[in-house]
Protein backbone atom coordinates (compact mmCIF):
# COMPACT_ATOMS: atom_id res chain seq x y z
CA UNK A 1 0.00 0.00 0.00
CA UNK A 2 1.71 3.21 -1.18
CA UNK A 3 0.58 6.73 -1.92
CA UNK A 4 -0.66 5.68 -5.35
CA UNK A 5 -2.40 2.60 -3.96
CA UNK A 6 -4.45 4.45 -1.36
CA UNK A 7 -7.01 7.24 -1.84
CA UNK A 8 -5.86 10.87 -1.66
CA UNK A 9 -7.40 14.31 -1.49
CA UNK A 10 -6.44 17.97 -1.71
CA UNK A 11 -6.12 20.20 1.34
CA UNK A 12 -9.42 21.87 2.09
CA UNK A 13 -11.56 23.10 4.91
CA UNK A 14 -15.22 22.46 5.63
CA UNK A 15 -17.25 25.44 4.34
CA UNK A 16 -14.33 27.94 4.49
CA UNK A 17 -13.95 27.54 8.25
CA UNK A 18 -11.64 30.22 9.63
CA UNK A 19 -12.26 32.92 7.03
CA UNK A 20 -14.92 34.41 9.29
CA UNK A 21 -15.01 32.85 12.71
CA UNK A 22 -13.67 29.43 13.65
CA UNK A 23 -16.26 26.73 14.32
CA UNK A 24 -15.37 23.49 16.08
CA UNK A 25 -16.20 20.71 13.65
CA UNK A 26 -17.03 18.04 16.19
CA UNK A 27 -20.82 17.64 16.43
CA UNK A 28 -21.39 14.66 18.71
CA UNK A 29 -19.31 12.30 20.81
CA UNK A 30 -20.61 8.96 22.12
CA UNK A 31 -18.57 7.06 24.66
CA UNK A 32 -19.58 3.38 24.57
CA UNK A 33 -18.15 1.28 27.38
CA UNK A 34 -19.01 -1.63 29.62
CA UNK A 35 -19.74 -1.30 33.35
CA UNK A 36 -17.77 -4.34 34.40
CA UNK A 37 -15.28 -5.25 31.69
CA UNK A 38 -11.57 -4.86 32.52
CA UNK A 39 -10.73 -3.15 29.23
CA UNK A 40 -13.15 -0.32 30.04
CA UNK A 41 -11.39 0.56 33.30
CA UNK A 42 -9.66 3.63 31.88
CA UNK A 43 -12.86 4.84 30.26
CA UNK A 44 -14.75 4.43 33.51
CA UNK A 45 -12.08 6.45 35.34
CA UNK A 46 -12.25 9.13 32.67
CA UNK A 47 -16.03 9.32 33.02
CA UNK A 48 -15.65 9.76 36.77
CA UNK A 49 -12.98 12.48 36.50
CA UNK A 50 -12.78 14.25 33.20
CA UNK A 51 -15.87 13.96 31.03
CA UNK A 52 -17.80 16.78 32.70
CA UNK A 53 -14.86 19.20 32.35
CA UNK A 54 -14.50 18.15 28.71
CA UNK A 55 -18.18 18.79 28.04
CA UNK A 56 -17.95 22.21 29.69
CA UNK A 57 -14.85 23.17 27.70
CA UNK A 58 -16.52 22.21 24.38
CA UNK A 59 -19.99 23.73 24.53
CA UNK A 60 -20.62 23.10 20.82
CA UNK A 61 -20.22 19.32 21.14
CA UNK A 62 -22.87 16.97 22.53
CA UNK A 63 -21.47 14.22 24.75
CA UNK A 64 -23.33 10.91 25.10
CA UNK A 65 -22.22 8.35 27.63
CA UNK A 66 -23.77 4.91 27.05
CA UNK A 67 -22.82 1.90 29.12
CA UNK A 68 -23.52 -1.27 27.14
CA UNK A 69 -22.52 -4.89 27.13
CA UNK A 70 -19.49 -4.71 24.85
CA UNK A 71 -16.10 -6.30 24.75
CA UNK A 72 -14.23 -3.29 23.37
CA UNK A 73 -15.04 0.22 24.58
CA UNK A 74 -15.03 2.84 21.87
CA UNK A 75 -15.56 6.54 21.18
CA UNK A 76 -17.71 7.47 18.21
CA UNK A 77 -17.18 11.01 16.91
CA UNK A 78 -19.57 12.61 14.42
CA UNK A 79 -18.57 15.73 12.52
CA UNK A 80 -20.41 18.58 10.88
CA UNK A 81 -19.65 17.34 7.37
CA UNK A 82 -21.30 13.98 8.19
CA UNK A 83 -18.20 11.85 8.66
CA UNK A 84 -18.13 9.39 11.54
CA UNK A 85 -14.93 8.25 13.24
CA UNK A 86 -14.68 5.40 15.69
CA UNK A 87 -11.70 4.98 18.00
CA UNK A 88 -11.34 1.87 20.12
CA UNK A 89 -10.07 2.80 23.58
CA UNK A 90 -9.69 -0.67 25.08
CA UNK A 91 -7.08 -0.97 27.85
CA UNK A 92 -6.19 2.72 27.81
CA UNK A 93 -5.64 4.83 30.89
CA UNK A 94 -7.81 7.82 31.72
CA UNK A 95 -5.20 10.31 30.46
CA UNK A 96 -4.81 8.42 27.19
CA UNK A 97 -8.57 8.48 26.71
CA UNK A 98 -8.59 12.25 27.21
CA UNK A 99 -5.73 12.60 24.67
CA UNK A 100 -7.81 10.64 22.16
CA UNK A 101 -10.72 12.96 22.84
CA UNK A 102 -8.54 16.09 22.34
CA UNK A 103 -7.31 14.74 19.03
CA UNK A 104 -10.83 14.04 17.85
CA UNK A 105 -11.94 17.52 18.94
CA UNK A 106 -9.12 19.24 17.08
CA UNK A 107 -9.77 17.39 13.83
CA UNK A 108 -12.15 18.49 11.16
CA UNK A 109 -14.21 15.64 9.79
CA UNK A 110 -12.20 15.29 6.55
CA UNK A 111 -10.67 11.89 5.72
CA UNK A 112 -7.27 11.05 7.13
CA UNK A 113 -5.73 10.06 3.81
CA UNK A 114 -2.80 11.33 1.81
CA UNK A 115 -3.02 15.07 1.19
CA UNK A 116 -1.60 15.87 -2.22
CA UNK A 117 -0.45 19.45 -1.63
CA UNK A 118 0.24 21.14 1.71
CA UNK A 119 -1.38 24.37 0.52
CA UNK A 120 -4.54 25.61 -1.14
CA UNK A 121 -5.26 29.01 -2.72
CA UNK A 122 -8.17 30.39 -4.64
CA UNK A 123 -6.00 33.27 -5.93
CA UNK A 124 -2.76 31.74 -7.20
CA UNK A 125 -1.63 34.71 -9.30
CA UNK A 126 -1.62 38.38 -8.29
CA UNK A 127 0.94 39.94 -10.59
CA UNK A 128 -0.17 37.88 -13.60
CA UNK A 129 1.01 34.49 -14.83
CA UNK A 130 4.46 34.32 -16.43
CA UNK A 131 4.66 33.71 -20.17
CA UNK A 132 7.80 33.77 -22.32
CA UNK A 133 7.35 37.41 -23.31
CA UNK A 134 7.13 38.78 -19.76
CA UNK A 135 10.21 40.87 -19.00
CA UNK A 136 11.46 40.51 -22.56
CA UNK A 137 12.61 43.90 -23.96
CA UNK A 138 10.52 45.06 -26.91
CA UNK A 139 12.30 46.17 -30.09
CA UNK A 140 10.28 48.87 -31.92
CA UNK A 141 9.37 48.27 -35.60
CA UNK A 142 11.27 50.22 -38.28
CA UNK A 143 9.54 49.08 -41.51
CA UNK A 144 6.09 50.04 -42.84
CA UNK A 145 4.41 46.61 -42.63
CA UNK A 146 1.35 46.39 -40.38
Amino acid sequence: MTSSGTPSRFLKSVLQNGVGRYVCQLKRISIIFSKNGPSSLGVRDFIEDGVVDYAKKNPGTVVYVSPQVCSKPKIVAEYLNGNVREEIVASKTSSQVSEVLTLLTNQSGLDVIRIRKPFHTDNPSIQGLWHPFTNRPLVPRTDDKV
Binding site: S13, V19, C24, L103, S108, I115, P118, Q127, T134
Partner: protein, 218 residues
Protein backbone atom coordinates in the same frame (compact mmCIF):
# COMPACT_ATOMS: atom_id res chain seq x y z
CA UNK B 1 2.71 56.42 10.98
CA UNK B 2 5.88 56.71 8.87
CA UNK B 3 8.38 53.89 8.99
CA UNK B 4 12.10 54.56 8.99
CA UNK B 5 14.18 52.14 6.97
CA UNK B 6 16.78 50.81 9.41
CA UNK B 7 20.29 49.83 8.42
CA UNK B 8 19.52 46.18 8.90
CA UNK B 9 16.26 45.75 7.11
CA UNK B 10 16.26 48.13 4.14
CA UNK B 11 13.74 47.25 1.49
CA UNK B 12 14.52 47.14 -2.21
CA UNK B 13 11.67 48.80 -4.06
CA UNK B 14 10.93 48.38 -7.68
CA UNK B 15 7.94 48.95 -9.88
CA UNK B 16 6.68 46.48 -12.37
CA UNK B 17 5.61 47.31 -15.91
CA UNK B 18 3.16 44.78 -17.17
CA UNK B 19 2.44 43.60 -20.66
CA UNK B 20 -0.71 41.72 -19.79
CA UNK B 21 -3.70 43.04 -17.87
CA UNK B 22 -4.86 40.14 -15.80
CA UNK B 23 -8.49 41.15 -15.79
CA UNK B 24 -9.13 40.35 -19.48
CA UNK B 25 -10.13 36.80 -20.35
CA UNK B 26 -6.77 35.05 -20.16
CA UNK B 27 -6.88 33.37 -23.56
CA UNK B 28 -7.79 36.51 -25.54
CA UNK B 29 -5.22 38.71 -23.85
CA UNK B 30 -2.48 36.11 -24.21
CA UNK B 31 -3.13 35.53 -27.94
CA UNK B 32 -3.30 39.25 -28.71
CA UNK B 33 -0.11 39.95 -26.78
CA UNK B 34 1.79 37.06 -28.34
CA UNK B 35 0.73 38.09 -31.85
CA UNK B 36 1.75 41.72 -31.24
CA UNK B 37 5.04 40.92 -29.58
CA UNK B 38 5.95 38.29 -32.21
CA UNK B 39 5.43 40.90 -35.00
CA UNK B 40 7.59 43.41 -33.16
CA UNK B 41 10.37 40.94 -32.41
CA UNK B 42 10.56 39.49 -35.93
CA UNK B 43 11.05 42.94 -37.43
CA UNK B 44 14.75 43.24 -36.72
CA UNK B 45 16.87 45.96 -38.33
CA UNK B 46 18.91 44.49 -41.19
CA UNK B 47 22.36 43.21 -40.24
CA UNK B 48 25.28 43.47 -42.63
CA UNK B 49 26.10 40.00 -44.08
CA UNK B 50 29.44 38.60 -42.85
CA UNK B 51 31.21 38.94 -46.21
CA UNK B 52 30.45 42.65 -46.45
CA UNK B 53 31.55 43.34 -42.88
CA UNK B 54 34.82 41.50 -43.38
CA UNK B 55 35.68 43.51 -46.47
CA UNK B 56 35.24 46.73 -44.52
CA UNK B 57 37.69 47.98 -41.93
CA UNK B 58 37.48 46.40 -38.47
CA UNK B 59 36.75 49.82 -36.90
CA UNK B 60 33.24 50.18 -38.38
CA UNK B 61 32.30 46.53 -39.13
CA UNK B 62 32.22 43.44 -36.90
CA UNK B 63 34.97 40.81 -36.88
CA UNK B 64 32.46 38.12 -35.90
CA UNK B 65 28.81 38.14 -37.13
CA UNK B 66 26.28 39.41 -34.60
CA UNK B 67 24.06 36.58 -33.30
CA UNK B 68 21.58 36.21 -30.47
CA UNK B 69 24.45 35.04 -28.27
CA UNK B 70 26.71 38.01 -29.04
CA UNK B 71 25.52 39.83 -25.98
CA UNK B 72 23.83 38.65 -22.78
CA UNK B 73 19.99 38.56 -22.82
CA UNK B 74 19.68 41.11 -20.00
CA UNK B 75 19.70 44.81 -20.91
CA UNK B 76 23.03 46.60 -20.69
CA UNK B 77 23.21 48.96 -17.69
CA UNK B 78 25.73 51.73 -17.20
CA UNK B 79 26.85 52.71 -13.66
CA UNK B 80 24.68 55.63 -12.53
CA UNK B 81 26.21 58.57 -10.60
CA UNK B 82 25.27 58.71 -6.91
CA UNK B 83 23.22 61.88 -7.12
CA UNK B 84 21.15 60.48 -9.98
CA UNK B 85 20.73 57.19 -8.11
CA UNK B 86 19.53 59.00 -4.98
CA UNK B 87 17.06 60.97 -7.06
CA UNK B 88 15.76 57.78 -8.72
CA UNK B 89 15.36 56.04 -5.35
CA UNK B 90 13.51 59.03 -3.91
CA UNK B 91 11.18 59.12 -6.92
CA UNK B 92 10.49 55.39 -6.64
CA UNK B 93 9.88 55.57 -2.88
CA UNK B 94 7.48 58.47 -3.29
CA UNK B 95 5.61 56.69 -6.07
CA UNK B 96 5.18 53.53 -3.98
CA UNK B 97 4.27 55.63 -0.92
CA UNK B 98 1.57 57.37 -2.93
CA UNK B 99 0.11 54.02 -4.02
CA UNK B 100 0.11 52.78 -0.44
CA UNK B 101 -1.44 55.96 1.03
CA UNK B 102 -4.20 56.04 -1.53
CA UNK B 103 -4.81 52.32 -0.92
CA UNK B 104 -4.45 51.84 -4.65
CA UNK B 105 -3.24 48.27 -4.56
CA UNK B 106 -5.54 45.26 -4.67
CA UNK B 107 -4.76 41.91 -3.12
CA UNK B 108 -1.41 41.53 -1.35
CA UNK B 109 0.69 38.40 -1.25
CA UNK B 110 3.55 37.66 1.14
CA UNK B 111 6.39 35.17 1.31
CA UNK B 112 6.45 33.87 4.86
CA UNK B 113 9.01 31.61 6.53
CA UNK B 114 7.39 29.10 8.89
CA UNK B 115 8.02 25.48 9.87
CA UNK B 116 11.35 25.46 8.00
CA UNK B 117 9.78 26.38 4.66
CA UNK B 118 8.86 29.48 2.72
CA UNK B 119 5.27 29.84 1.57
CA UNK B 120 3.72 32.31 -0.86
CA UNK B 121 0.61 33.34 0.95
CA UNK B 122 -2.49 35.53 0.33
CA UNK B 123 -5.69 36.16 2.21
CA UNK B 124 -8.03 33.21 2.70
CA UNK B 125 -5.66 30.46 1.77
CA UNK B 126 -4.74 27.25 3.60
CA UNK B 127 -1.35 25.94 4.74
CA UNK B 128 -0.44 22.55 6.18
CA UNK B 129 2.47 22.43 8.63
CA UNK B 130 3.95 19.03 9.43
CA UNK B 131 4.53 19.95 13.06
CA UNK B 132 2.77 20.63 16.32
CA UNK B 133 1.89 24.27 17.05
CA UNK B 134 1.34 25.14 20.76
CA UNK B 135 -1.72 27.30 20.01
CA UNK B 136 -5.22 25.86 20.41
CA UNK B 137 -7.69 25.47 17.55
CA UNK B 138 -9.37 28.75 16.69
CA UNK B 139 -6.56 30.95 18.05
CA UNK B 140 -5.16 33.77 15.94
CA UNK B 141 -1.44 33.85 15.20
CA UNK B 142 0.78 36.55 13.76
CA UNK B 143 3.41 35.24 11.30
CA UNK B 144 6.46 37.41 11.87
CA UNK B 145 9.12 36.19 9.42
CA UNK B 146 7.99 37.95 6.25
CA UNK B 147 10.54 38.03 3.41
CA UNK B 148 8.58 39.69 0.66
CA UNK B 149 5.29 41.47 0.13
CA UNK B 150 3.86 42.10 -3.30
CA UNK B 151 0.88 43.78 -4.90
CA UNK B 152 -0.16 44.14 -8.53
CA UNK B 153 2.17 47.07 -9.27
CA UNK B 154 4.96 46.97 -6.68
CA UNK B 155 6.93 44.53 -4.53
CA UNK B 156 8.75 45.07 -1.25
CA UNK B 157 11.65 42.67 -0.73
CA UNK B 158 13.36 42.41 2.64
CA UNK B 159 17.04 41.81 3.35
CA UNK B 160 16.33 39.13 4.49
CA UNK B 161 13.21 40.05 6.48
CA UNK B 162 10.83 43.00 6.34
CA UNK B 163 10.28 45.14 9.42
CA UNK B 164 7.50 44.05 11.74
CA UNK B 165 6.01 47.56 11.69
CA UNK B 166 5.66 47.31 7.92
CA UNK B 167 3.71 44.10 7.32
CA UNK B 168 1.20 42.17 9.35
CA UNK B 169 0.27 38.59 8.39
CA UNK B 170 -2.38 36.96 10.56
CA UNK B 171 -3.50 33.35 10.58
CA UNK B 172 -5.97 31.12 12.45
CA UNK B 173 -5.28 27.57 13.58
CA UNK B 174 -7.99 25.48 11.90
CA UNK B 175 -7.21 21.93 12.91
CA UNK B 176 -4.50 19.93 14.61
CA UNK B 177 -4.60 16.38 13.27
CA UNK B 178 -2.30 13.54 12.48
CA UNK B 179 -1.02 12.60 9.05
CA UNK B 180 -2.20 9.46 7.29
CA UNK B 181 -0.31 6.36 8.50
CA UNK B 182 2.81 6.22 6.36
CA UNK B 183 4.52 2.86 5.93
CA UNK B 184 8.29 2.85 6.46
CA UNK B 185 9.47 -0.56 5.25
CA UNK B 186 12.98 -1.87 4.76
CA UNK B 187 13.56 -5.06 2.82
CA UNK B 188 16.78 -6.76 1.80
CA UNK B 189 16.17 -9.56 -0.62
CA UNK B 190 17.57 -13.05 0.03
CA UNK B 191 18.73 -11.97 3.51
CA UNK B 192 15.50 -12.55 5.47
CA UNK B 193 15.54 -8.90 6.51
CA UNK B 194 12.18 -7.16 6.70
CA UNK B 195 11.29 -4.23 8.99
CA UNK B 196 7.99 -2.38 8.93
CA UNK B 197 7.11 0.80 10.84
CA UNK B 198 3.97 2.94 10.67
CA UNK B 199 4.75 6.65 10.97
CA UNK B 200 2.07 9.14 12.04
CA UNK B 201 3.08 12.80 12.27
CA UNK B 202 1.26 15.71 13.90
CA UNK B 203 -0.09 18.26 11.43
CA UNK B 204 -1.50 21.76 11.79
CA UNK B 205 -3.69 23.51 9.26
CA UNK B 206 -3.53 27.32 9.22
CA UNK B 207 -5.93 29.66 7.45
CA UNK B 208 -4.21 32.94 6.49
CA UNK B 209 -6.72 35.64 7.41
CA UNK B 210 -5.03 38.83 6.27
CA UNK B 211 -1.87 40.33 4.77
CA UNK B 212 -1.74 44.05 5.54
CA UNK B 213 0.77 46.84 4.88
CA UNK B 214 1.54 49.75 7.19
CA UNK B 215 0.26 53.18 6.04
CA UNK B 216 3.49 54.51 4.56
CA UNK B 217 7.20 53.77 4.21
CA UNK B 218 10.00 56.21 4.96
Amino acid sequence: MTVRMSAHFTAILFERTSLVDEHFPVKMALMATLRRTWRVLTSRPSVLPPAVSRSQSSVSGHLVPVTSLSRPPWPETRPVPEEEQRRQHAALTSAVNRLIEQDDFGRLFAVVHIAGRQWKVTDEDLILLESHVPAACGERLRLEKVLLVGARDFTLAGRPLLAKELVRVEATVLEKTQSWPKVHMRFWRRHRFRRKRIVVQPQTVLRINSVRLAPALA
